[in-house]
Subunit: 154 residues, 3 copies
């Protein structure tokens, strides 16, 4: 059936094999029926599409799009690990790190870009627990980094 | 028996149904015998009781109280998800994010406000692994955000 | 056989019983076949070996060494909890918090110090999912804090 792939096509979203991690870690680890996805940045291929702090170089709207892209990249990792995305039972937990300008406190709105993406793809099974926090700096001067834990149906 | 509710009464602590999440996420997700609680702020109803950075607008003592309130709110979420708080087997993990003034390094003391609360309620089963970190900004300019993972007895 | 202890000896790494947590928490909690390790700092005994922000008081190279030391300390906690380090099935997840100078974006390189350590000790089973983020302040003005989730073979 490939329901998730079908849904991605409907939404016009393309997912690509993620670039190899640079270092002694992996994009994802499966333990029991949980898959832990490494922190994802708003990369398209190897290019960072958004750069800087949200509330300064990056607008709220761009931050939301950046968060959405980190969610898409997390899904790409799941695809490359599981082959069949319909094996994802539910999205369990997001941690959204937003590189924030001083006085910027709309981290929840930024991470809604990721939350809504998972809802769009998985419906109620895409609804998750989450935390959104404002950090000082992120790798490559990215405005957003997203961690995902998902449940795999066995 | 309702041991936990009894303990809350003894300590004069009232827990309330948490306000609905604003976005496509949930207050909590249960996966296997773990419950993942979304990041909680020091809200009373819909009002943020503490605001600003610990070490600047918010004193250490207020930060400790704010952390305690985030723990109380996490317990409110557990109550609304599980109905019976005695189903909580143990508190597994806290991540405490402290919005910190420059040069403020007492994040561990702040998060003790949450750690001690769980010990007061659950005794040894309330003792958890934890991390306390100092972030730059938090949603609503909150001084503390707390994430909890707990184990449910089946 | 004590393969892990043997490997530590080969690499000339000594692990010590960690100092008691100051507060109502624990160094680690086991839930199911996961062990959650509390955030570790680059302490040797009770002394913090590195202090300040990476990219300012602490160089990249020192940051890498600090991250490696937090990984060694996480292993010490596993040892004190499990007695037999060969019970560690795999390293599942790292979250590396790097106290960062403004404009410092090499958090991934810093946390490689921890990632490589686990690979050196556990080989492929040491490869993990991870996130590396740049925070504003850490307890004791530490440059690095590391959280680890590992899987225990039953």
């Amino acid at each position: 059936m490939a329901r998730v792939e079908e849904r991605l096509r409907e939404l016009g979203i393309e997912i690509n094999t993620p670039p190899k991690p640079q270092g002694y870690y992996q994009h994802a680890v499966i333990s029991g029926n949980l898959i832990f996805i490494s922190g994802q940045l708003p990369l398209k291929g190897e290019q960072l599409l958004y750069k800087g702090k949200v509330g300064r170089e990056v607008t709220l709207e761009e931050g939301v799009m950046a968060a959405r892209l980190t969610a898409i990249n997390s899904l790409s990792v799941m695809k490359s690990e599981l082959s069949d995305l319909d094996r994802i039972g539910r999205i369990v937990k997001l941690t959204g790190y937003v590189a924030s300008a001083q006085g910027f406190n709309l981290q929840a709105k930024v991470i809604n870009g990721a939350s809504q993406f998972f809802y769009d793809i998985f419906g109620d099974m895409g609804k998750h627990a989450r935390a959104a926090v404002g950090v000082y700096e992120l790798p490559l001067d990215s405005p957003v980094e997203l961690e995902v834990i998902a449940e795999i149906s066995s």
